[in-house]
């Protein structure tokens, strides 16, 4: 167990074959569904980024290059498990077929925004899809995932929790506290570091990534640490399954480092040309997760270029339709939920301050 965190677990080799002991042996159906989720994520991201340029939303963040992670994990885990995501886990929702219109409505902060206008675009919350409420603060939900998992164990429930944190964010105290609790209470939780090499403008060395691997942080807690090729849908699936099995059989938590690369800008506010070579993504040795899975299923004979193009075209028009529907309701500033919503959900029941203030605002 002590050497595990220093390797790199892969299933898809450079030629696109699934090899080695970690091969999860997925069905053709599952593989295609995974590819679909990843492609949908990418299509959606691209479209939204463009809509931001047009002023239709206040903010956007892409997960380009990291789509395998959410997709594989979302599919590998059970519907009732709970994910405590980062803002780059959209493919989790895509794999679970979260309605695109709801995404769009939140991104436009319009009258049908499922979060009622209170939260930034992309900081989703989707309880029924096993997706815990996101917030702008990075890292601060890592410990809640452990508590949620402890609660599940407390109730003799079989649900487990999975949480994500960026490589840069592992430097927060939250990371350590969550792992300590996970270890001490043997919580049924999978704790994932998405090491996409960058934290806005700083490379992973500023989180200690040059001194050792992120998976090796597991050793500090006596937990297994797996270092996974995060651009390999099959490896991500296999590692997640392994950790889920461990958690569900009450053997405790696992730390998984997902080694990947943030191919796009940090967010719509960022200009990565200022701090890294613009072609770095193209030279990323572990490739593009979409192309790798596509190559694999093509090699398996269940996929070809025609199908691929058709799928992309279909997804593009799905996205287009959702955007249209959202635009019909309204884009940023053109439509918004009732201002009453500003005063709701501060508490379960508003106190006199909120009631008075709502009246003061004349609504």
């Amino acid at each position: 167990m002590r050497d595990l965190p220093y390797g790199l677990i892969r299933v898809l080799d450079d030629g696109g074959d699934a090899v080695g002991p970690w091969n999860p042996n997925l069905s053709a159906e599952v593989l295609v569904a995974g590819l679909r989720a990843m492609l949908l994520t990418r299509a959606f991201d691209d479209r939204m980024f463009r809509l931001h340029r047009q002023g239709k939303t206040s903010f956007y963040m892409k997960s380009t290059g990291e789509e395998a992670i959410g997709a594989a994990q979302s599919m590998a885990l059970d519907a009732n498990d709970m994910s405590f995501p980062t803002y780059r886990m959209l493919s989790w929702l895509m794999a679970r077929e979260y309605p695109l219109e709801d995404l769009v409505n939140q991104i436009f902060s319009n009258a049908n925004d499922p979060l009622k206008g209170r939260q930034l675009p992309i900081l989703y919350s989707a309880r029924d899809y096993g997706f815990y409420s996101l917030s702008g603060n990075v890292g601060s939900r890592f410990g809640a995932a452990v508590g949620w998992a402890m609660a599940s164990a407390f109730k003799h429930d079989t649900k487990i929790a999975i949480a994500h944190i960026g490589d840069g964010t592992t430097a927060e105290g939250d990371f350590h506290e969550a792992l300590t609790f996970a270890s001490v209470y043997r919580a049924p939780v999978i704790l994932c570091v998405v090491n996409n090499q960058w934290a806005i403008s700083t490379y992973s060395g500023f989180a200690g990534g040059e001194s050792t691997t992120f998976a090796a942080k597991a050793l500090a807690y006596g937990l297994p640490g797996l270092r996974i090729d995060g651009n390999d849908f099959l490896a991500v699936w296999a590692a997640t399954e392994w950790a889920a099995e461990r958690a569900r059989t009450n053997n405790g938590a696992t730390l998984i480092e997902l080694f990947t690369y943030r191919a796009a800008a940090h967010s719509t506010s960022d200009d990565p040309g200022k701090y890294r070579p613009v072609d770095e993504a193209a030279h990323w040795p572990l490739g593009d997760p979409v192309e790798r899975l596509r190559g694999h299923i093509t090699r398996l004979g269940i996929w070809d270029d025609t199908k691929h193009e058709a799928l992309i075209a279909g997804l593009d028009s799905t996205v287009r339709l959702a955007v249209k529907a959202g635009e019909a309701i309204g884009t940023l500033g053109k439509s918004k939920p009732s201002v009453k919503e500003m005063f709701e959900d501060v508490f379960a029941t508003p106190d006199w301050r909120l009631i008075e203030q709502r009246r003061e605002l004349g609504i």
Partner: protein, 337 residues
């Protein structure tokens, strides 16, 4: 009814909660096997088992984060922070996560949890075992803050806090755990025995959050206080000779504005008493609210009697502590204004 001191009353509240609701659990540093450094959780692990009452790592952030996750799952965790001074490492969790969860998720998730912490001074605890941080919670939208002043309220308010569907900070004035204290540090220690408020039902009952108590009626001035300061205020009012009404706020969020306003409109004078440093303290909010709503009834400036704007100083505890003399002086000034 039984005679209980505040520790026994809190322990009884926890016992009732753990007994009645299988989704409650309580944890914190030394609260399990040992029963808590102030003994509030004594016997609970033995009675309810190690999954219902347990020890934690020394990690306030981790404790609160775990509680949030549990609460989001559907449990009602009650955590103890060993001293309110040590709640600060969990401040981000309380503010950015617990307080905001319901709002930001559009009501999908919420965090019905209670964070207990012994607080306040008067025990020669020095800087880091004496602070009163209520103001930094009162300002946070989405948090409730409760401060009992006697055993009956302690039990009833704690049960109400746990029943509440929002996160509640429950600050326990440690100076009055074992007996009321009126700020006269040279007098012999009193216990709760024979105090009316120490008659506490053994079973379940609640004291609602947001309902102040008029501890003593009066015509000439209103004194607003909470926690230990309720007892100090009573002594100060006596000393002053002023016929003052004493209001124990019991919870500062939600705040019982109606009771406060009705009293000040009647008396025309108001003195606010708290132990925390004055500047930026909760007294400022109270003063502003009273002034805004009772301006034309005020016959004298509202005064704040509070800790000085220094850290809590060990050897100067009784120079720092806002005792009955300072309150009495303020009341007399109000009468002369």
């Amino acid at each position: 009814m039984t005679q209980m001191n505040m520790i026994q009353a809190l322990n009884s509240a926890l016992d009732v909660l753990l007994t009645d609701d299988p989704d409650t659990l309580t944890f914190g540093q030394d609260v399990g096997y040992f029963g808590g450094v102030f003994r509030v959780t004594e016997g609970l692990q033995k009675k309810h088992g190690v999954t219902r009452c347990f020890d934690t790592p020394i990690s306030e952030g981790g404790i609160v984060a775990a509680a949030i996750g549990m609460a989001a799952y559907g449990l009602r965790p009650i955590v103890e922070i060993q001293f309110a001074d040590y709640i600060l490492p969990a401040y981000d969790q309380l503010v950015s996560e617990a307080a905001r969860l319901r709002y930001r998720s559009g009501g999908q998730f919420w965090a019905p949890m209670t964070v207990r912490a012994p607080y306040g001074g008067g025990i020669f605890g020095g800087q880091t075992h004496s602070q009163s941080p209520e103001a930094i919670f009162a300002h946070i939208t989405g948090l409730k803050t409760v401060i009992p002043s006697n055993p009956y309220d302690a039990k009833g308010l704690l049960i109400a806090a746990v029943e509440d569907d929002d996160p509640v900070i429950f600050l326990e004035p440690k100076r009055i755990y074992n007996g009321p204290f009126d700020g006269r540090q040279n007098q012999s220690l009193r216990t709760w025995a024979n105090e009316a408020t120490a008659e506490v039902p053994e079973g379940r009952f609640t004291v609602p959050l947001g309902k102040a108590a008029v501890v003593r009626e009066g015509r000439e001035a209103t004194v607003l206080a909470y926690g230990t300061m309720v007892h100090v205020a009573a002594a100060g009012i006596n000393d002053s000779g002023v016929n003052a009404e004493l209001i124990d706020l019991r919870s500062i969020v939600p705040l019982d504005i109606d009771t406060i306003i009705a009293s000040v409109r009647k008396t025309g004078r108001c003195v606010i008493l708290h132990e925390a440093s004055r500047f930026g303290g909760f007294g400022g909010e109270l003063s502003a609210l009273v002034q805004e709503r009772c301006f034309h009834h005020l016959r004298a400036p509202i005064e704040r009697v509070a800790g000085w704007d220094t850290p809590y100083p060990h050897a100067f505890e009784w120079d720092y502590f806002p005792g009955p003399t300072r309150l009495a002086d303020a009341l007399r000034r109000a009468m002369e204004a």
